[in-house]
């Protein structure tokens, strides 16, 4: 047993932290927060391309595709640090689509896309959800007609978040309507500037944007089909497995700032940190953050051993996101009346961060599979209970 990083991993962690502190700009931090941590904005692209040049965006990938051949532990550590230091950390191309292409794509596809993903040049947007297909993705029916050399696409996507700033759509569509639902789905990479695509903003309660996307006779070359036609549901599930891990870094940072706040803030003649109830709550959260850390690196450990995490990904995703919600809820309670005041006012505490993340936190247990879906997976896949 060993629950610490290796010497090399520790050294890398230091280097990564130094880099992030040095290269972060106020503009990048603001952009990232305003966009809900996704990648693709102009400021984010600057810093991430520098980071990617070091191989840190896709450290586990083979060198020929722009990786470093490092362990998953190292990769998970970098992603944790990105969240903690306010860099974008939601990467569709590098962390969801890329690994799926690496596993299932043709050599040509790998050569064409992976190096540009690894360098940070390209970002994708996740294209799964449709109005009638939320938790049940097998109900998706954006139609792709096979025209020989190309497909023609028609239909609607909902809540496809990065579409307004990403380069390509990582799109799940229906190529066969006459077979069992999950046997007629294909995955494609679509240039988001293709004629016929209309992207309309949907603004969330956290202030950032997701989108509604309409496809009208959009032409997609055959070479953009991922793997085999009609096997897309399988790839989609694999990509979801890559997505289902949640680095707590962003919320961990909020927690650390909250702890400092309680040490500095004097109420009724003593610091908040001496209040027995607050001590209990913060100690509890600190414990849950540690639990999350163990669940998180367990995933990396399983991958490094050559395995594929089973129910453990669902467990980590659920635990981490529910922990995130508890952190900001306790944060709001500790700030009390001040918690309501938004960034910008001289009375705002912690730059209004807590209320901002309090709003964002709601969606963490909804997207990438709701907590209920994750618990179904834990019970059925993990414990073998009947479907």
């Amino acid at each position: 047993m060993d629950f610490e990083f290796t010497k090399e991993e520790k050294a890398l962690q230091e280097e990564v932290r130094e880099f992030m502190k040095k290269e972060s700009t106020p503009e990048m931090l603001k952009e990232t927060e305003d966009m809900g941590d996704i990648y693709g904005g102009p400021e984010g692209r600057k810093i991430i391309r520098k980071m990617a040049a070091k191989g840190w965006l896709t450290p586990t990938w083979p060198k020929e595709y722009g990786g470093l051949g490092l362990s998953d532990v190292a990769s998970y550590m970098i992603r944790e640090e990105m969240g903690y230091h306010g860099l974008p950390f939601g990467f569709v191309a590098a962390h969801m689509a890329g690994p799926t292409i690496l596993r299932f794509g043709s050599d040509e596809m790998k050569k064409k896309w992976l190096p540009r993903i690894a360098s940070g040049e390209l970002e994708f947007a996740l294209g799964y959800t449709e109005p009638q297909a939320g938790s049940d993705l097998s109900a998706l029916n954006l139609r792709a007609e096979d025209k020989g050399d190309y497909f023609i696409l028609n239909g609607n996507k909902l809540f496809n978040t990065s579409c307004h700033i990403a380069d390509c759509h990582w799109l799940a569509c229906r190529t066969d309507f006459d077979v069992a639902k999950h046997k007629g789905v294909s995955m494609m990479i679509v240039d988001l500037k293709s004629p016929g695509i209309t992207i309309s903003p949907l603004i969330t309660m956290a202030g950032w944007q997701t989108n509604e996307v309409v496809y009208e006779d959009v032409r997609v070359p055959k070479e953009n089909l991922v793997g085999e036609k009609n096997k897309g549901f399988y790839y989609l599930m694999a990509a979801l497995d890559f997505e289902r891990m949640f680095p707590l870094g962003r919320y961990h940072r909020v927690f650390d700032e909250l702890v400092e706040y309680t040490k500095e803030t004097i109420v009724d003649g003593k610091t908040l940190s001496k209040d027995p109830l607050i001590r209990q709550k913060l100690a509890q959260l600190s414990t849950e953050i540690e639990v999350t850390r163990l669940l998180y690196y367990q995933l990396a450990h399983i991958l490094d051993k050559g395995g594929i995490p089973n129910y453990q990904s669902s467990m980590e995703k659920t635990f981490a996101t529910e922990c995130a919600q508890r952190i900001v809820n306790v944060g709001m309670d500790i700030l009390g009346l001040y918690g309501q005041i938004k960034e910008g006012s001289k009375w705002a505490q912690l730059k209004g961060k807590v209320e901002k993340f309090y709003r964002t936190s709601i969606v963490e247990t909804i997207y990438a599979g709701t907590s209920e879906i994750q618990r179904n997976i834990i019970a059925q896949r993990g414990l073998g209970l009947p479907r």
């Binding site: 047993m1 163990l294 467990m315």
Partner: protein
């Protein structure tokens, strides 16, 4: 990072599981709850022959020289089987205190005896004030020529009824600093003035009231230094806390299995109850509590084994495992339904034991408060 047990630990785990499944069946557990001794000499001897009692003692004291992590592996299995008897008190509370503070002669004499299964030692720490902070130590030891005279009452002393020796944590000096002025005495349990009265407890383990009526103890029986006993107690308490966590994790594993067995067999409304989503989500929560408790316990035990700083991890772990394992057994009861409430169903053994384990060596609130200190709050 490596989350796995090593090969020897896997073997130890398997062997212990095999042995206990034969020698420590649930019926036996129930018998021992009623039995005044709480253990049979036969089982105790077999355990000694397997080397369990000497597992963590160095070879020069008749032990096997295993690590704390090895011990944890064993404790998980003991928790799984609800092993009754004085293993915990003798090996962990007695043995570890001796290892920390015993002089060479005592170690030679007693650790070997423990390893052979011939000597029982326990720790008399808590009192009527029922807590684990130095402020709560009031039993007095007063100097009298070449000896000390102990007077006062210790409460919740495990397995004192079997003990050959009782390590008594006594106050030898009053002062502002409550950590100062505490001394450990190795007391022969047959000394005049020692009165042991068993307590009836809800987990069926053997806790006792131990009254010291002016018990005379030679100066040479001080363990460690006069007045400087608390740091030793603290170290032992930390190891004991994680050892309890290991037991709870083992018990939690069994509770999960009992729940899964029931919900995959029992049918209602024409289907297995395990196909109901409400039940599935209970089960998902159970395994989450269990896995996280296991991970936390492994990490803390690993840090103790490696001699790394671990105050933070110990506090977190005892708090987390205490709350989680309690909740998981309660959820298991909910999933199992009325059958699990019957005395003859094994789940109830775990429900009682987990709560008892939770209050030993500091409950969750106690450890969160300790953690708050570590966090500099």
């Amino acid at each position: 990072m490596d989350y796995d047990l090593n090969e020897e630990q896997e073997l130890l785990k398997k062997a212990a599981k095999g042995f206990l499944s034969k020698e420590c069946k649930p019926l036996f557990v129930r018998e021992m709850e009623e039995d005044p001794q709480g253990i049979t000499p036969e089982l105790w001897q077999k355990m000694a022959e397997l080397g369990w009692m000497g597992l963590i003692f160095p070879e020069e004291y008749g032990g096997i020289g295993g690590s704390y992590l090895d011990l944890m592996v064993l404790l998980v299995e003991m928790g799984y089987s609800c092993l009754p008897g004085p293993f915990f008190s003798t090996v962990i509370l007695g043995g570890m205190t001796l290892m920390e503070a015993g002089d060479e002669e005592k170690k030679q004499e007693l650790l070997g005896g423990i390893a052979e299964g011939k000597i029982f030692v326990t720790l008399a720490l808590t009192e009527a004030t029922a807590g684990y902070s130095p402020e709560r130590i009031a039993v007095k030891a007063e100097k009298d020529a070449d000896a000390f005279v102990i007077s006062g009452t210790k409460l919740f002393v495990p397995d004192a009824h079997l003990a050959n020796y009782i390590i008594c944590v006594a106050r030898t000096k009053e002062g502002e600093n409550k950590e100062d002025g505490i001394t450990l005495f190795l007391v022969d349990a047959k000394s005049q003035g020692v009165v042991i009265t068993p307590l009836k407890t809800f987990a069926g383990d053997k806790l006792n009231e131990v009254v010291f009526n002016n018990v005379k103890v030679p100066k040479g029986n001080i363990m460690g230094e006069l007045d400087k006993g608390w740091p030793i107690v603290k170290k032992v308490l930390q190891k004991a806390a994680i050892a309890k966590c290991a037991e709870m994790v083992g018990g939690g594993q069994r509770a999960l299995e009992l729940a899964i067995e029931q919900v995959t067999e029992r049918e209602q409304f024409g289907v297995k109850v395990g196909s109901f989503q409400a039940v599935q989500h209970h089960c998902a929560n159970i395994v989450t509590y269990l896995d996280t408790s296991r991970l936390m316990t492994h990490q803390a035990a690993w840090r103790i084994s490696e001699g790394l700083p671990c105050e933070r991890e110990i506090a977190m772990t005892k708090a987390w495992v205490t709350d989680s394992c309690r909740s998981l057994v309660a959820l298991a009861h909910q999933a199992v339904g009325g059958t699990g409430f019957m005395e003859e169903h094994d789940l109830q053994l775990y429900f009682r034991r987990t709560k008892a384990a939770g209050v030993y060596f500091g409950d969750a609130d106690f450890h969160r408060e300790a953690l708050a200190d570590v966090m500099g709050l």
